[in-house]
Symmetry: C2
């Protein structure tokens, strides 16, 4: 029986796993991406992890390799076009380079797109053909699936949902714009908002407070932190309403690190979305947390490879 | 030689014309939609105009009829789902009703979608497969073309570009939301902004001032009115940036009544869009005024019919 290797390459973590055609991960290897070692260092780790997976998977043939990368990818050429979290990867032709080093067919896409492929294959959107996945992590990414196919756009940059403008005079964003959703609804945004309100409140807020800690305090019922999530939910709801009004999709799936705190914001975000969307289009949208958790990227990249090979 | 009839049904005007397969309108009949006479009155006008067109077109066979309607259309059933400017048309199955009354194949879509079909066929987007048309009239509509096909969404409400949220705490919109693009960048919005600023300025502003008059004064160099268009351009640019970041399309075409004033806002709107979009995706987008003018709806509906008949 054939298997493929799925790779999830982020700015922090590198996850590599062996995936079967029915959507099972039979072996996984996690390690830091090691971006501080430069691009070559990360590629060395990646090749090592592939060897490790191959060593552990017995009695099966490796058919191909898929990878999801935290950056904008030009699909035609396989070039990383923009990758703020992977220094040195911009303008790098990963498809050409790794095809030289590896003897298996190699498929590449953006990490948020690959996440959407995974959720559509065997996650929350497995019964849907028209949905959008939003990854709420340090930043915000997105993958758009229309008629069962990823919509990449002309240059491969479609789905930049983190840069929907939610405050016309809002704070500056790394993209060069300002008031982007990413600045108001990501993990990074929660931390900023918590710190900014610091001087106005009695609670002590550590300088190195994390989104997880904010979630913990909100869940414990501390009003200040609950309020931070309500503000985040409002902006997320505005971004989702824009998506619904523009694309009239069936489902929105929320993934990324923040998705484990969906209990704190998702109902509120959905309420804002419904109120601000066209009636029929808004009410019909299911908004769900992602189902695949830490394996999502591996499964999605696995699907990318299976699909590319014509095996699915 | 075959011809089709293209119909453009708005809340104010009804335009009916005979269209040839190379994109020529050989006869056209314009009249008021007569919404005050109710739905049956408008349908009577429509049937009369079809007869008029048939009477004037000699020596050609009528192959089919296409119509673009100012409302959200459920494509599967041919039902008008939502039509604020056509009272009495909601939940009306126009496809079934007119198929009974007419002996020719009948095709229906939303007016902004039909406008996009026309511009893609023989207008500004004729060399493009991935573009968005925005109609700036009393309200704001949109048609999204991806891979050469209209994207209708699940319920037929996709492309509601007028309801992209550009001011999170903005003024209420008919859709039930608030801060929608339509409230800041349509002809209606220009008039509202002109009147609101009235008390703060020396110029006299008539109670029944129109968007055309505002344009005339802005073109004459009156700073107050020039400023109104710059505000409109900023919000339009924000909406366009959202579209670019989400969909990474090749072109945006501006139509509707306000498009004849593109000289007053389009360059400024494009600048805002480029600054607020992902670099590659934003810089590559061509932003152009529509080319088909008053015949756009007839040509688009004609194309809808030719395409539906398999003749194009």
């Amino acid at each position: 029986m054939d298997y493929v290797i799925g790779i999830d390459l982020g700015g922090t973590n590198l996850k590599v796993g062996a995936v079967l055609a029915h959507g099972e991960v039979i072996f996984r290897k996690h390690m830091p991406s090691g971006v501080e070692e430069g691009r070559d260092g990360t590629i060395k780790r990646l090749l090592y992890a592939i060897e490790e997976v191959r060593f552990h998977v017995k009695g099966k043939r490796l058919a191909g390799i898929g990878i999801g990368i935290a950056g904008a990818i030009s699909m035609k050429k396989g070039i990383v076009v923009q990758a703020p979290n992977l220094p040195g990867w911009e303008d790098f032709n990963i498809k050409e380079e790794l095809s030289k080093k590896l003897q298996w067919p190699f498929f590449v896409d953006n990490d948020a797109n690959v996440f959407a492929l995974g959720e559509g294959w065997c996650g929350a959107a497995r019964h849907n053909n028209n949905f959008i996945c939003i990854t709420l992590g340090t930043g915000i990414g997105g993958g758009i699936v229309l008629n069962g196919e990823l919509w990449h756009g002309i240059d491969g940059t479609a789905g930049e949902i983190g840069h929907i403008i939610v405050e016309p005079e809002g704070i500056p964003c790394n993209c060069g714009g300002n008031g982007c959703l990413e600045m108001y609804a990501s993990a990074k945004a929660l931390v900023r908002i918590a710190k900014e309100g610091k001087s106005n409140k009695a609670e002590k807020i550590a300088d190195d407070i994390t989104a997880d800690e904010i979630a913990k305090l909100a869940r414990a019922g501390v009003p200040y932190f609950k309020q931070i999530f309500l503000s985040q939910a409002r902006y997320l709801g505005i971004g989702m309403a824009d998506l619904v009004n523009i694309l009239n999709i069936e489902m929105i799936v929320i993934g990324g690190g923040l998705s484990k705190s969906c209990d704190l914001f998702l109902d509120a975000a959905r309420d804002v979305m419904v109120r601000r969307s066209f009636k029929i289009a808004g009410e019909r949208v299911k908004v769900l947390p992602a189902e695949l958790g830490g394996d999502g990227g591996i499964l999605g990249s696995g699907f990318l490879a299976f699909k590319g090979l014509g095996l699915l």
